[in-house]
């Protein structure tokens, strides 16, 4: 059952996921190429903050896109009703879809970090702690991405006007996400905040799914 849903959802999210991987790869390749053309001075590191921010933005956009797509494609195809007519009903479908989102997140994290590691490996810079410099903001981002994902999911699932109140959940989670991102001692606080916010958002998602009409 999970495999069937995962196969289906992977087709839905494959496009944005591949686009994000391609964009990140291009940025890393460009950075490595530039580094080879213009070797960094002693003590500098070519994989600078711009790469980290690109990673951050790519992650957030990917989380938003995937969550919205997972709902909107069902809505547009009229397949919510079909999926919800299965014996497990909407609860099972929703759980499976969120689980598929989590798998996508794991895939993205693994691939993205692998690409960055490869970039670091190919870099000729002489930065003493490139991994440390790179991993801190990347892990912060990855820890915070679930909030954005659930916020996006809630936005797409809520029956409201897109140009009005429907975007509120997404707008609401972005400050939370920035808050977590720039917290001191983030490695302690961020996971807790993420877990708490995610649990709340999942609760709201299930409440919305239970009370809304799939007409």
């Amino acid at each position: 059952m999970f495999n069937a849903m995962l196969r289906k959802e992977s087709i839905v999210v494959a496009g944005p996921l591949l686009a994000a991987v391609a964009a990140l790869s291009a940025m890393v390749i460009d950075a490595v190429y530039e580094s080879r053309r213009h070797p960094a001075p002693q003590g500098d590191w070519m994989l600078d903050e711009s790469l980290v921010y690109s990673f951050l933005i790519a992650s957030v956009l990917l989380a938003m896109t995937i969550s919205v797509l997972q709902c909107v494609t069902e809505e547009a195809q009229g397949t919510w009703r079909y999926a919800h007519s299965f014996p497990g009903g909407w609860r099972q479908i929703l759980k499976l879809k969120l689980a598929c989102g989590a798998v996508t997140w794991v895939v993205w994290s693994s691939v993205a970090i692998s690409i960055c590691l490869l970039g670091i490996g190919l870099d000729r810079g002489s930065e003493g702690e490139p991994l440390g410099k790179l991993f801190d903001p990347m892990l912060r981002t990855l820890v915070c991405v679930p909030i954005v994902y659930f916020g996006g999911y809630l936005t797409a699932l809520r029956p409201a006007r897109w140009y009005a109140t429907r975007l509120l959940p997404l707008l609401g989670v972005i400050p939370c996400w920035f808050l977590v991102l720039y917290l001191p001692n983030w490695w302690i606080v961020a996971p807790l905040v993420t877990v708490a916010f995610s649990a709340m958002l999942i609760g709201v998602i299930f409440h919305i799914a239970e009370t809304r009409d799939f007409a």
Binding site: Q77, R81, Y82, F86, G88, D213, A215
Partner: protein
């Protein structure tokens, strides 16, 4: 106004023992508003086990909303719907596994192949009969490797049917399944549906606009008008209850005709058409009082009966009385 029939005493002899049979579908004052519009209005409906029940009505009559409420896809604002003994919006997976649904327009994942759609749906059901799927696929000669968006509407409907029957459901609910299909495909679809499901004594509920189909397959009909169930009766009983009386008069009527049981009327010059429910002596006396120069009493087919019954003024629509509908 007609009331639906809720048969509280549905019992059946089974294996020589008297046992109570819970009707597969029971609704009690089921009501739904969209915005300020009441699309389903206090629907009381009981569908008996083993019947093929057609829900009829014009566009916007509330048929689809009723079916969605039965499937738990739409929440009623008032009243309740019980399906296979459980509240429609809180059915257990075990109960849901005994119900199959075919939606209007056959909403499937169109980028999947037929085989892919089968592979996708199968793991969600505790019981899945590959042989039933094969039977439908083979019968309609469906191309298994073709993606659904490359199939015709008729073929997509056939795929929907194959998926719906695979779990050998106790209850099959179809929301206008033949809309957009040509006559031959429509007939084949409905006949296959009846063959596969109803032969086993299963219950089928479907909504439709196409009355000729309904006449052929449904043993009971419910007619909804503006969200209200006006008729709930055996198909034959409804069809036979309506009679059209065509009279030639010496001149136009001075005032609109008034008679109990008059469903609709239409005047064209000196020719007057009157449609009565349960035409009898009272109606004949009324017709005679108009002093017609000639009169014909015509039987109606289901489509004509439906049109004549539903085009009359809603306010004075004659009742399809309980005792009549129970027949």
């Amino acid at each position: 106004m007609a009331e639906s029939v809720v048969d509280q005493d549905a019992t059946r002899q089974a294996s020589g023992h008297q046992r109570e049979v819970v009707p597969p579908i029971v609704t009690d004052r089921l009501t739904k508003y969209y915005g300020g519009t009441r699309v389903v209005n206090g629907l009381n409906l009981t569908i008996k086990e083993g019947s093929v029940y057609a829900l009829l009505g014009r566009n916007g009559a509330g048929k689809s909303t009723t079916i969605k409420m039965l499937m738990g896809l739409v929440h009623p604002d008032f009243g309740s719907a019980t399906v296979l003994g459980e509240a429609a919006h809180q059915m257990s997976p075990e109960t849901r596994a005994q119900i199959s649904w075919v939606g209007e327009g056959h909403p499937l994942y169109k980028w999947m192949t037929i085989d892919g759609a089968i592979r996708f749906a199968k793991p969600f059901y505790p019981v899945w009969h590959d042989d039933l799927v094969e039977q439908v696929i083979d019968h309609f000669k469906l191309p298994r490797k073709r993606r659904l968006y490359r199939l015709s509407n008729g073929q997509r409907a056939q795929v929907s049917l194959a998926l719906a029957v695979a779990s050998d459901p106790k209850l099959l609910i179809l929301d206008d399944p033949t809309i957009g299909l040509d006559t031959v495909v429509r007939r084949d679809f409905l006949e296959s549906m009846i063959q596969i499901i109803q032969q086993k004594g299963r219950t089928i509920v479907f909504s439709s606009h196409i009355l000729s189909d309904v006449d052929r397959v449904a043993d009971h009909i419910g007619i909804m008008l503006d969200g209200v169930l006006r008729v709930d009766a055996p198909t034959e009983r409804f069809r036979d209850a309506l009679r059209k009386v065509v009279v030639e008069l010496s001149g136009p009527l001075p005032k609109p005709p008034e008679c109990p049981g008059l469903a609709s009327w239409h005047q064209n010059g000196n020719r007057l058409e009157l449609v009565f429910v349960d035409f009898g002596e009272t109606h004949q006396s009324y017709v005679d009082s108009l002093l017609p120069s000639s009169q014909d009493i015509l039987e109606l087919n289901l489509e004509d009966a439906f049109v004549e019954y539903t085009r009359g003024s809603r306010g004075v629509m004659p009742a399809f009385a309980k005792e009549v509908a129970r027949v």
